[in-house]
């Protein structure tokens, strides 16, 4: 039983109170709804419920089911399946195409970052200046980012056509080359072509991210640094440099993570060829699923999980710090 003083404050013990001063508040039986409302945690769960439900239905369940399927010898359309533990994962380690797939994903993701970063930084610095139609140019910067990848990939497919490439035509016309460039028919050229398209598509993200950081720096700081006699490089390193320091890092992490889930660009341009030499996780998994081997296809996709988890943890740490 809880006792209250005249001001309504709870008293520690009955013995400390004189009987004449005691105010006894009759115990009120609280209803479920009142208790529910009073408890913050209940309300929190209520608000969380829709999100959690969506997470469970559309992310946790498929993820769990994917793990289960990857440990079976299941084929789409065939009811019979056996649980084979990590056999699919083990077999993939011996699969030369999968080995190429892992290598390609890193080349495609990590190898393109320096170019995206350099070009994005350059573009951001230029577009941070005030000049005529600068806002229009900033909007143009976003074009490669907002054009659907499938469409831009088709444009690159035409540019990289082995027989009728405008790039080859121009270079031939200038006398630089003697015949068509084998853009997508040679494994190294094909990877380079994919990286070029990936860089083109990724530069705006770097550019806009860095530009946003640059624009947060007040002009008068730059002016003060200039008055102090700092040259352009010193001004950049001392004023916007520290402010935007983490922006390229975060953009880089995103840029490494996205290729793991990429599909369209590689599928449209090479379908993983020639001779399976340009597959990334998404396209190889799709090709494997194509002949209904859903167990192996799931295992290919799930190989990304530990790598992505590490990257995601690093990314989250930097995002929080920012």
């Amino acid at each position: 039983m809880v006792h209250y003083d005249s001001q309504g404050f709870a008293m520690s013990t009955l013995q400390e109170t004189r009987p004449s001063e005691r105010v006894i508040v009759p115990e009120v039986q609280e209803g479920f709804w009142t208790r529910f409302q009073r408890r913050e945690s209940s309300l929190a769960w209520l608000f969380l419920a829709p999100g959690l439900l969506i997470l469970i239905l559309f992310i946790a369940y498929p993820f769990g089911y994917g793990i289960y399927i990857s440990m079976t010898d299941a084929f789409v359309g065939f009811a019979e399946r056996n649980f084979i533990w990590l056999e699919n994962y083990r077999r993939l380690l011996d699969d030369p195409i999968f080995q190429k797939t892992v290598r390609n994903t890193f080349v495609y993701g990590v190898g393109t970052v320096p170019f995206k970063l350099a070009l994005g930084l350059g573009l951001a610095l230029v577009l941070n200046q005030k000049f005529r139609f600068s806002r229009l140019y900033r909007a143009f910067l976003l074009l490669p980012w907002i054009v659907p990848t499938a469409i831009s990939s088709l444009a690159f497919l035409m540019l990289f056509n082995g027989v009728m490439s405008p790039i080859s035509w121009v270079l031939e016309d200038w006398g630089v080359i003697g015949g068509s460039i084998n853009f997508l028919g040679d494994p190294i050229n094909a990877i380079i072509s994919l990286c070029v398209a990936n860089i083109w598509r990724g530069v705006p993200f770097f550019g806009i991210s860095i530009l946003a950081g640059l624009q947060a720096v007040p002009d008068d700081l730059n002016e003060a640094a200039a008055l102090d006699g700092a040259n352009a490089w010193q001004r950049f390193m001392a004023v916007p440099g520290p402010v935007i320091r983490n922006t390229p890092l975060i953009a880089t992490l995103f840029s490494i993570i996205w290729p793991f889930a990429d599909f369209q660009l590689v599928y449209v341009l090479t379908k993983g060829g020639p001779a399976n030499s340009t597959h990334i996780f998404g396209t190889y998994s799709y090709q494997t699923l194509g002949y209904t081997d859903i167990g192996t296809a799931a295992a290919i996709s799930l190989y990304m999980f530990p790598i992505l988890s590490v990257l995601a943890v690093i990314l989250l740490r930097y995002v929080r710090r920012d």
Partner: protein
């Protein structure tokens, strides 16, 4: 007529002690109806399966969606769409057709089967019915009717579209392969009267190809990318003509890595930079058409679509001079003979479909003589029919330039040969194992390693 064929099959089955499956397979090939098959089965002491007797379906207000591969003869795709729409209007069924690129057809079907939702009718390429054998509605009656219309099905059709003799999709033939070439360029390369003296062997073709590339400036063109049509259309026959096979007749013993094939592939790899357009490694089924039609190459292995496109007055590639200069030759032979990869496409109904009545009604109509013939004629000879009934149509015999495409039926083999065109063959084909062996050998120059890698992959597939 039917009685005669039934009697022939009964005596054949008794003499050869055919199994029930073989009887069914032969009956399909001979075009016997379900009723006739029933009498043959009972006369030979086999159980007769209870064929479902479907009541006429009430189609009013129903719907039907079909997933069909795009056609390299655009008019034929439009015509099929028109046929479907007209049939839908006549039967008050809302019909939609999705045409998708060849390489996407199978993955889309796989997704639909996994999801248990999607198209009602799917087009299946050779060997693919095996992949979905548990998900396709059995169609014995429809197959028997279609076989009657087609005058029976060719063996290459039965071998690739039927699943162990059972029909779960109805075959409608396929495009075939030959070498489309520019007569004038071959003459410039020293081949007198190419129509009569076209190189008979691969080796001879590569020799002429060297002259074509070096002196005429118009190399041979061959697609070696990951695509369903032309790359396998070249690689499988070449492999067979050099004595290599995916597996032995038992369907499990891999017979890919042979000395003769190593020699043959070595010859091809050496010829590649000297006789071929080297960008072919990245070509798909359409790139060689573009290369030929834009006068970049002198010859390429293809269906008749290049020639038909050049003849099409309304098409963007209309080029009467090029059409006049274009001729076709059968695929050359190797030391082990002359071959072509031949398997029938077919139409199947997925078992999750709530519109099976509509689907069956459509297929029953479409595979009847009149609409099927009309569709075949719009293709102008590009698609060869699954049986002999239509092979004498003017579209196949009037233009002698197209004769090599129908001759292919005489030396066609199924994927997976010498084994059956089964699930494993379908998997090997979907993984492009044979095609990628060629591409890998050309890229690396290491024929032995490419063949060994191909053999290992086949081993994994066929002995899993």
């Amino acid at each position: 007529m039917t009685e005669d064929r039934s009697a022939t099959l009964i005596s054949e089955a008794k003499a050869m002690r055919y199994s029930r499956r073989t009887v069914m397979k032969r009956a399909s090939a001979m075009g016997l109806s379900a009723a006739a098959l029933g009498s043959v089965l009972s006369a030979t002491g086999h159980a007769v399966s209870a064929a479902p007797n479907r009541a006429p379906a009430l189609l009013q207000g129903g719907s039907l969606n079909m997933l069909i591969s795009t056609a390299f003869v655009p008019a034929a795709q439009d015509f099929f769409q028109e046929q479907a729409t007209t049939w839908g209007e006549d039967n008050s069924v809302d019909v939609t057709v999705d045409f998708i690129n060849w390489p996407d057809l199978q993955p889309r079907t796989t997704s639909a089967v996994q999801a248990g939702a999607g198209p009602d009718i799917v087009e299946l390429w050779d060997t693919i019915p095996y992949l979905f054998s548990e998900n396709l509605v059995p169609l014995p009656d429809l197959a028997a009717q279609a076989a009657e219309v087609q005058g029976g099905f060719y063996d290459w059709v039965v071998n690739t579209a039927a699943i162990d003799g059972e029909w779960r999709s109805i075959p409608h033939g396929t495009s075939s392969a030959a070498i489309a070439y520019r007569k004038s360029y071959f003459e410039q390369a020293g081949v007198e009267n190419p129509e009569e003296n076209f190189p008979a062997t691969w080796e001879e073709l590569f020799e002429v190809g060297r002259v074509l590339k070096e002196e005429v400036g118009k190399p041979l063109g061959q697609a070696l990318g990951q695509s369903l049509g032309d790359p396998p259309g070249f690689c499988y026959p070449y492999m067979w003509s050099y004595g290599s096979m995916e597996v032995e007749e038992d369907g499990t013993t891999v017979a890919f890595d042979t000395d003769l094939f190593r020699e043959g592939l070595e010859m091809f790899v050496q010829a590649w930079p000297e006789a071929f357009d080297e960008t072919g490694l990245g070509w798909d089924d359409s790139t060689n058409n573009s290369a030929y039609l834009s006068d970049q190459i002198s010859a390429t292995q293809n269906g008749s679509s290049i020639y038909l496109a050049a003849l099409d007055e309304e098409g963007e590639n209309y080029n009467p001079e090029l059409a006049e200069d274009t001729f076709h030759a059968p695929l050359p032979s190797g030391p082990e003979g002359q071959f072509a990869s031949l398997g029938s496409r077919s139409m199947g109904i997925l078992d999750y479909s709530p519109n099976q009545d509509e689907a069956m009604a459509f297929l029953e109509w479409w595979f009847s003589a009149e609409p099927f013939q009309a569709w075949l004629e719009v293709f102008e000879g590009y698609i060869i029919p699954p049986g002999p009934a239509f092979i004498e149509l003017p579209v196949f015999v009037e233009d002698p330039k197209l004769a090599p495409y129908t001759d292919v039926v005489n030396f066609g083999r199924n994927k997976g040969y010498a084994g059956p065109a089964n699930l494993r063959a379908a998997q090997a084909s979907s993984q492009y194992v044979v095609v990628n062996t060629f591409a890998e050998a050309v890229q690396s120059g290491d024929v032995g390693a490419a063949i060994e890698q191909g053999a290992q992959m086949l081993e994994r597939i066929y002995n899993r």
